[in-house]
């Protein structure tokens, strides 16, 4: 037992859990199925509309059938193995993925010869398959806690492998193998979240209580526990320097800081984290030319126009958003293909912004907000620290990704290469996000089923 004085400071009394998590939550399969049908319908309508506007024959029936079958399969898996899961999670994922396919199909029309919708559809199918596999195969999320060190080892390996492959578009984040390309860093996110949750759940008391007190709530951290943090920080910088991937490094570090804070509640960690992040970002932003140019672009997106080189990607992206205005140009009526390279992946949100307008874009962002909030809600309802941390971490991954890339393409923060979850073209990203949603489904099922035990 720790001394009483310390206990009073840190382990604050847990508020009584909400009443509905005590009793068994009602099964809401019917609601989920209805929302799912709505998601499929909206996506299919969008798909058909793109075909109408482009005056081309695109296989909307195939698309709709494929989406419906995948959604139904996922729904069955949830219904059978996670009946108490949050009914909103799966429909949001299906809707976002369906809309992403619509946007990619629409951009395919503007860029003949670089069709991406077919591949994306297959990757989405694989993602849904893995979703079902996780929901069916993982009966209890606490099993993952055992594999913390396996997870971190695998994550490190996945992140290091691309360094040995040639850079694509200035970043070492791809593996090309047998005609397929993966971004292993995407999978590493989940593994790291599992590791962090596990490590922090086990060590949070030590992290929260040790260290010499400086003043108020700030405590100097002892070297023994400072080790892992510095390791992760170095890892982030390493990723940045070796792979030139500012987005992923930002994501890892943000994820770690958020989970550390959730586990310990110590402002000192946040302060140190932000300080280190600022130092690292400043150093890399000044020294690394690839990152430096992104920062320059962000500060003055029209510099290339002034130089007579025409608008850069960020300027084109801003033009696209601006052209959308309040209501948008209408699906298929925009010119976001002017962005050129990466219009379907990193910049896919610009197409949504131009063609669906502020209204459509706000709806999309609120969908993400809803997805994230449902993740946090599962974390609040769970009783075991590992589950709570994992749910918070996974929700934060989605939130950070959305913020980093959406903020990047709209000029809020420097642009970093990152996929908009579910929306953007990119197989690894879609598959990873489906697994994240599967884990959230599992966590929310545990939370709402009640009686998963654990002391807070």
């Amino acid at each position: 037992m720790p001394p009483p004085a310390l206990t009073a400071k840190v382990t604050e009394p847990e508020p009584a859990p909400p009443p509905w998590s005590d009793t068994r939550a009602p099964r809401r399969g019917g609601v989920g199925l209805m929302l799912l049908a709505g998601a499929v319908l909206i996506s299919a309508l969008g798909h058909a509309y793109v075909g109408l506007v482009g005056r081309v024959q695109i296989s909307t029936p195939h698309y709709a059938a494929g989406l419906a079958v995948a959604a139904l399969l996922a729904h069955l898996a949830v219904r059978l193995r996670a009946p108490y899961a949050d009914p909103v999670l799966l429909p949001i994922a299906v809707l976002l993925n369906g809309l992403g396919l619509v946007l990619i199909e629409r951009l395919d029309l503007a860029t003949p010869g670089q069709a991406g919708a077919g591949d994306q559809l297959r990757w989405s199918g694989l993602g849904v398959g893995l979703f079902a596999l996780v929901v069916v195969g993982l009966r209890d999320h606490r099993v993952l806690q055992r594999y913390a060190y396996l997870s971190v080892t695998a994550a490190l390996a996945l992140m290091l492998v691309p360094v040995f492959f040639p850079a694509v578009n200035g970043a070492h984040i791809w593996i090309r193998f047998a005609g397929l390309s993966f971004q292993p860093g995407e999978f590493a996110k989940i593994l790291l979240a599992v590791f962090f949750a596990s490590y922090l759940a086990a060590n949070r008391t030590a992290l929260a209580l040790t260290g010499r007190r400086l003043f108020w709530r700030l405590r100097l951290l002892p070297g023994r526990v400072l080790g892992p943090i510095l390791t992760i920080w170095l890892l982030s910088v390493g990723v940045l320097v070796l792979e030139r991937d500012l987005g992923t490094s930002l994501l890892f570090f943000g994820l770690f800081v958020i989970m550390l804070f959730t586990a310990t509640g110590r402002i000192g960690w946040i302060a140190v984290g932000l300080l280190l992040a600022a130092l690292g970002a400043y150093a890399v932003g000044t020294l690394e030319p690839h990152v430096h140019s992104r920062v320059q672009d962000w500060m003055n997106p029209f510099a290339s126009i002034a130089r007579g080189e025409g608008p850069g990607q960020l300027a084109q992206s801003l033009f696209a958003f601006a052209a959308g205005g309040l209501l948008g140009a209408g699906l298929g009526h925009g010119h976001s293909f002017l962005i050129g390279f990466a219009a379907k992946s990193d910049f896919v949100l610009a197409t949504a912004g131009e063609e669906l307008g502020l209204v459509g874009l706000t709806a999309l962002l609120l969908l993400y907000g809803l997805l994230v909030s449902r993740g946090f809600r599962a974390g609040l309802a769970l009783r075991d620290p590992f589950g709570r941390l994992l749910a918070t971490g996974l929700a934060s991954i989605v939130a950070l990704q959305v913020f980093v890339i959406a903020g990047g393409v709209t000029g809020l923060i420097p642009l970093t290469g990152m996929a908009m979850p579910f929306l953007a073209q990119g197989g690894s990203s879609v598959v990873t996000n489906w697994i994240i949603v599967a884990l959230l489904v599992r966590l929310s099922d545990s939370a709402r089923r009640g009686g998963t035990g654990g002391s807070g």
Binding site: E12, E14, T262, A323, H335, L358, S373, F376, V402, T410
Partner: protein, 486 residues
């Protein structure tokens, strides 16, 4: 831990709010600024996404649109580019628009609110109505006659309908094919550079934008001023003018090109184009009277639009008597556009009244519904009706038995005035051969056409003979074409 999860959730709410505020900034507040950025291709893409409306001559299109298959999809084509270039101008994806293409751009491009019966529908659907058509007042036969007559020599020709101000022909020579400038790319840039570097200046619209010393054709203005001011009451009375005429206040002697001008009447002076007599009459009218008369004809007016702007024709308002004497015969610093001199002829033909010249008869929707009609519009009165009648008689004499016999048309009543304007230091430049005139079919109460022709590189025969030799035949074929078409 619950509390910290909530804090994290609130942090995410903060991120979401930042995103939404920023997106609203880009899409709503700063939307217009981004849309107006010259590097943003969207306005151009939208503008050229549909075929442009056409310009019509005699109801037939003289323009077209070609699907280039490029990002900027439709390019302008011209069926008879050089012939109509001074009227149509160009519509270039690289260099913008000029003349009618510019003045009527909103209709042609489909942005004019009058093109849609329900403008709100296009606001809602964010579509754009099909480009409307612009019917010009030109008559193809008159235009072709003028273009053939000039035959690539530097010069210009204008024909007006005196009763309405409709411009029947507007030719500038040498001309160019505006279709060369339609698209984008190196060929267009090369054509632009070549046309601009050409010493013959083919893209200069000489009919509207070049001013020439009007020479002896200006004597019509001087005669009108003298008659209206009462300086001359009897056109057949001798004027007691010496030949040569010493310019007032100087020892410079003003000669005549021909003989028989000593002590001639104003009628004879117009018929044989006597510099001495008309210079003396101008001085007698005085600076104020001459300026007022010239301005009644449209000189010193910068505001004329047909609908493209027209260069100002100058008659100096601050001159010594000797300068006034030279100005009264269209020399010194008096300058006029060919259109201005056609207006002088039209004023005489129309009993002293000037109708505002215009090129666009009406604009219509793609389907044919009327958008706007441009009716005749009186610019003002240049002289009293009796003065106009008197001048008509004098101008008829010029063609029947005076210096402008080459303009005579059998079976028609033709009045005219020749001119040869000298320019350059010590008159070293090539003289400009002028002819202005009008024609009425036999039995018709009113002249149906008034013309002005100027040829820059006339054979360097001094005197009004060159006006008769170079410019009058062109004017004749134009007037013939105009009368034949009625």
């Amino acid at each position: 831990m619950i509390r910290y999860i909530r804090w994290c959730a609130w942090f995410c709410v903060l991120l979401l709010a930042a995103l939404l505020v920023n997106v609203a900034r880009v899409q709503v507040w700063e939307s217009a600024a981004y849309g107006a950025n010259p590097a943003n291709k969207r306005p151009a893409i939208e503008r050229y996404a549909q075929p442009r409306g056409n310009l019509l001559v005699d109801g037939r299109p003289v323009t077209g649109s070609r699907d280039s298959g490029q990002l900027l999809r439709y390019e302008r084509t011209y069926t008879d580019g050089p012939l109509y270039a001074p009227v149509t101008g160009f519509s270039s994806q690289t260099y913008g628009t000029s003349f009618a293409e510019r003045a009527e751009d909103a209709v042609l491009a489909g942005t004019d609110p009058g093109l849609s019966a329900f403008p709100l529908w296009y606001d809602l659907s964010r579509g754009r109505p099909a480009g409307g058509d612009v019917a010009t007042t030109l008559r193809a036969a008159v235009q072709e006659a003028a273009y053939r007559g000039l035959g690539g020599r530097r010069g210009a020709a204008v024909a007006l309908e005196p009763a309405t101000g409709r411009i029947l022909a507007l030719v500038s020579s040498p001309s160019y094919d505006p279709g060369l400038l339609s698209g984008t790319g190196t060929k267009v840039k090369a054509a632009w550079a070549r046309l601009n570097a050409d010493p013959a200046r083919p893209m200069l619209n000489r009919a509207l934008r070049e001013t020439y010393p009007p020479g002896s054709t200006f004597k019509i203005v001087t005669a009108a001023a003298a008659l209206d001011a009462g300086v001359v009451t009897d056109v057949d009375a001798p004027t007691h003018t010496p030949d040569p005429y010493p310019l007032p206040g100087t020892s410079t002697l003003l000669p005549n090109a021909g003989t028989g001008c000593e002590d001639a009447s104003m009628a004879e002076a117009v018929q044989w184009s006597c510099n001495t007599v008309m210079a003396k009459i101008g001085v007698q009218v005085g600076l104020k009277g001459m300026v007022a008369a010239a301005e009644r004809f449209g000189f010193n007016d910068e505001g004329l639009r047909v609908p493209s702007w027209v260069s100002r024709s100058d008659f100096d308002t601050d001159m010594s008597p000797d300068q006034l004497a030279l100005s009264s015969i269209g020399q010194f610093n008096t300058r006029a556009t060919p259109l201005q001199m056609a207006m002088v002829a039209a004023a005489v033909a129309q009993g002293g009244e000037i109708q505002t010249p215009f090129l666009v008869d009406r604009t219509t929707r793609h389907g044919g519904g009327l958008v706007r009609r441009h009716g005749p519009h009186t610019l003002g009165r240049a002289m009293s009706p009796p003065t106009a009648l008197r001048l008509q008689e004098l101008m008829v004499k010029v063609v029947e038995e005076g210096t402008g016999r080459n303009a005579a048309i059998p079976g028609a009543r033709v009045g005219g005035k020749t001119g040869t304007a000298q320019h350059g230091v010590g008159n070293a430049g090539t003289p400009y051969a002028w002819f202005i005139g009008w024609a009425a079919a036999d039995g018709a109460p009113q002249p149906a056409v008034a013309v002005a022709v100027v040829v820059e590189d006339a054979e360097a025969v001094r005197g009004d003979i060159s006006g008769n030799g170079a410019a009058a035949p062109i004017a004749r074929t134009m007037m013939e074409a105009a009368l034949a078409g009625r």
